[in-house]
């Protein structure tokens, strides 16, 4: 009399019903929360990680805003921009946090962002103008740093101190894809800025050093920590993470003659239905409450120096004369040429 065929079907049905009930419950719970306004912030994956700035910043902002701040990790920086373009007018994002000045030109061209209407005086080097000048009408900076190759002092002794030395060595490196990742794009522009027409030749030399090209910073840094490469493209501030968080002094950033800067920015989407809340968040971003969290979670220099010194383990930034940066408006054309060279060389 037992018919296990229907019984197994019934069991599967029951499981499905349970899942559906669970899903419905979740939906109802979300609906109940909808009373408080939700501010959706798209950012890169490492920002929302447990050890990243996301959780602390969420708690700090929610204390004052009477809202629900929702961070959504959407890949690495450049993929973040593609995502916003992809979703277009349908996007639920109110704020995008995690582009940098290398992308802000392209982001502005997409026409999806609204002016922030704020005047700010950031504390960071400015390679092409007076220190503290900030005239981007759409994006506000929240932190900055220098790109650098990070290595393990106990494993790599013969540390290259320039791109030429790196290309000539057999040191293995992991880098990020400039099409999806802001460090990857930073490296592309760093080399283009320094080598100009010789950039392709330098990439030819570097090609045999590259173990793999990852989509994002997290993957690359993970591979480096797993021992898959001798060096990884990261930041001069990355060793501070190991010193402060892990008491591990073995990691160091290789000093090159010049270092390309990254200034990370956030902007408000024109289509946001929480425009005021988005403004409020961008203002909050420039205050101590936000800025003080950055150094030991995002491991970058805060754009608006909070009261109190940087934690021990953070080396003072290298001299401003070593800083390189291509103005945001010029990046687009240079990026296209540099990317074509990079693709041509690395696909050989």
């Amino acid at each position: 009399m037992v018919c296990p065929r229907t019984c197994s079907a019934r069991r599967i049905l029951e499981d499905t019903m349970k899942y559906l009930a669970f899903a419905a419950g979740t939906l109802l719970a979300t609906a109940a929360l909808a009373e408080t306004p939700v501010l959706t912030v798209y950012t890169y994956d490492s920002f929302v990680a447990d050890w990243g700035p996301g959780p602390q910043i969420e708690a700090a902002f929610e204390e004052t805003c009477g809202c629900d701040l929702k961070f959504v990790g959407a890949g690495d920086g450049a993929a973040l921009l593609a995502r916003i373009k992809l979703e277009g007018a349908r996007s639920e994002a109110d704020v995008v946090l995690g582009l940098d000045t290398n992308l802000s030109g392209a982001a502005a061209q997409a026409g999806l962002f609204a002016p922030h209407g704020q005047r700010v005086v950031p504390d960071m080097p400015n390679p092409f103008g007076a220190a503290g000048a900030w005239d981007d009408p759409l994006f506000l900076p929240y932190d900055w740093g220098y790109f650098a190759f990070v290595y393990d002092k106990t494993k790599l002794t013969d540390v290259p101190t320039s791109f030429d030395a790196l290309a000539a060595s057999d040191v293995k490196i992991v880098i990020q894809d400039p099409r999806s990742s802001t460090p990857g794009l930073g490296l592309l522009l760093w080399i283009k800025e320094q080598y100009g027409d010789e950039a392709a030749a330098l990439w030819e030399g570097l090609a045999d050093n590259v173990v793999t090209v990852t989509k994002g910073w997290s993957e690359a840094y993970g591979l480096f920590l797993e021992g898959e490469a001798d060096m990884v493209l990261s930041y001069t501030t990355s060793p501070a993470y190991h010193i402060v968080a892990e008491g591990d002094t073995s990691k160091a950033a290789a000093a090159f003659p010049s270092h390309y800067m990254q200034i990370e920015v956030a902007g408000k989407l024109a289509r946001s239905d929480q425009s005021e809340l988005a403004d409020q968040f961008l203002t909050f971003m420039t205050t101590d409450a936000f800025q003080a969290i950055i150094p030991t979670t995002n491991w970058m220099y805060p754009a608006f120096a909070p009261k109190g010194a940087l934690p021990d383990g953070f080396a003072a930034p290298i001299g401003a004369e070593q800083a390189r940066l291509i103005p945001a408006d010029d990046v687009a054309s240079i990026r296209e040429e540099a990317l074509a060279e990079w693709l041509a060389v690395l696909s050989k």
Partner: protein
């Protein structure tokens, strides 16, 4: 059969086949219309095409070359556990690719056991990223398939041939020249062509082990154009390229499969008189053990590493598992609704089976991009991520399901058709009383395959998922990306269990009651 007395209903099959054809051809058309052909292919696109072909050539050649000794060993040795080994060779078909990749990393990665051993004896280390890794993973998946195909051909040689050969005093060399080599000449190109076609549209392996412009397949390039640059025109252009590649590979595979066999024998158990001395015996067992280790160790590594992480996984993993389970079941239901009518119609006219070939000719990312282009102006494709994944998974499993179902349906129609006609049973009653009870086994098997394939799939979902939607394979990929290897291994064990569990439940559910 003169004057067919019994006619199955063809129209439901026609409708189902039409829907499938519309989905695949419609998305191909959307892709073709959207492709910006004028822009041409850049150097990196050509590199992707070269890499796709080169890795597929290497993967298929290596898989087949390694499979021949394994198949020979299994063909001429009888030992305890032989059936288990052969059954085990079928497992990679439903093994989630991402799980295997994690296992291969823990064996062949820089921190894996192989390199630990190499370092210990002072040999240079190997790297698993790039071409090596992609080919390694493809061999991992396709060596078992090639072995099964070649072994099958070996076993189709009638026992009488070996008996005759023994009477004629053939040694190992004569045996190879007269019997085995002709057989291999027939089956090896077939196996190689099938594997070549499978490797052409490989996505997950290239996504995880390929890296950068140097190791990008066309399928991965489609994903990158879509995801990195939101360049639909270029994604569509690459999709067109992919259609041509997969199409040519499928034609190659089909042409290779037409060849004559050895004729029939009396299906006696094969006794081999050329089994050779101790050296050959130990060689054969060495080959079997080596192949088993190559296939087993990575999976065991995942299980060992993952069992510890199983209880320390973030809650998203569990919800992703729920999502995947729902997707897999819906996908299986869609497959059944499509496959059964088509199989019934195909019993009357073989042409219906051809619709299954469409599923082979279209790659998931091509269909995904096409659906995106079609849906984008009307609705938000991202909110439809899961239904689309379920649908595409079902269509991708359709060719396999049809292969399983068409034969048995035809047998039932041939065997019971006249009786049914005499008794006036037709329509639903025929389906319920005559066909379905006799089809439980194949249906369970097909459903199990579909559910397991859908459970482990990482393709369309990678294209469509937003940050908050994830199936279990995607969630696992994200954990790997953010360096949470322990949690990723835990998710891998869960995924492994669910994939094989689903297969087992369906397959068992079907088989148990064949005689009921």
């Amino acid at each position: 059969m003169a004057g067919r007395a019994f006619q199955v209903r063809r129209w439901p099959g026609g409708v189902a086949a039409g829907l499938v054809a519309m989905l695949i051809l419609g998305t191909l058309l959307a892709v073709a219309l959207r492709a910006e052909a004028g822009r041409g292919l850049g150097p990196s696109d050509w590199a992707a095409i070269r890499f796709t072909l080169w890795q597929a050539v290497l993967s298929s050649t290596l898989s087949v070359m390694l499979a021949v000794p394994v198949a020979r060993a299994l063909a001429r040795r009888a030992f305890w556990g032989r059936r288990l080994v052969i059954a085990f060779l079928g497992a990679p078909f439903i093994l989630p690719v991402i799980v295997a990749v994690l296992g291969l990393l823990s064996v062949f990665g820089r921190g894996g056991i192989l390199n630990v051993a190499l370092r210990f004896v002072g040999l240079p280390e190997v790297t698993v990223y790039g071409l090596h890794g992609v080919v390694l993973a493809h061999v991992f998946f396709n060596l078992p398939l090639a072995t099964r195909l070649i072994l099958q051909a070996w076993q189709e040689i009638p026992a009488e041939r070996f008996r005759l050969a023994a009477q004629l005093g053939f040694g190992a060399r004569d045996m190879a020249r007269v019997i085995e080599r002709p057989m291999l000449r027939r089956v090896v190109p077939l196996a190689a062509a099938v594997i070549f076609a499978l490797c052409i549209s490989s996505f997950t392996v290239a996504l995880t082990l390929g890296g950068g412009p140097r190791a990008t397949t066309v399928e991965l390039a489609i994903y990158e154009a879509f995801h990195f640059e939101f360049d639909l025109g270029r994604a569509a252009l690459l999709a067109l390229v992919q259609i041509v590649l997969v199409g040519v590979a499928a034609v190659l595979a089909l042409r290779a499969s037409v060849a004559e066999g050895f004729g029939a024998g009396m299906d006696r158990v094969v006794t081999r008189w050329d089994s050779g001395g101790l050296r050959q015996i130990s060689l054969d067992f060495g080959v079997i053990v080596a192949a088993s280790l190559f296939l087993l160790v990575p999976i065991l590594m995942v299980v060992v590493e993952g069992a510890a992480g199983l209880w320390r996984m973030p809650v998203q993993v569990w919800s992703a598992a729920g999502v995947s389970l729902a997707v897999a079941l819906v996908s299986t239901a869609i497959m059944l609704v499509l496959a059964l009518p088509i199989a019934i119609a195909a019993a009357a006219w073989r042409g219906f089976e051809a619709v299954g070939l469409l599923g082979i000719a279209a790659s998931p990312l091509v269909v995904g991009v096409g659906l995106f282009i079609v849906i984008f102006p009307i609705a938000d494709p991202f909110t439809l991520a899961l239904p689309i994944t379920a649908l595409v998974n079902a269509v991708m499993a359709l060719p396999f399901a049809l292969r399983i179902l068409v034969g048995p349906v035809r047998d039932v129609v041939a065997g019971y058709g006249r009786l049914s006609a005499t008794l006036g049973i037709g329509g639903w009653a025929w389906l319920r009383l005559i066909l379905l009870p006799r089809l439980r086994g194949p249906l369970g098997f097909a459903a199990g395959l579909t559910a397991a394939l859908s459970m482990g799939d990482l393709g369309v979902i990678a294209l469509f998922a937003d940050a908050e939607t994830a199936t279990l394979p995607l969630q696992m990929y994200r954990l790997m990306g953010s360096y949470q290897m322990e949690a990723a291994a835990g998710a891998a064990v869960l995924l492994l269990g669910l994939s094989f569990g689903l297969f087992w439940v369906f397959d068992r559910g079907g088989r148990n009651h064949v005689d009921a």
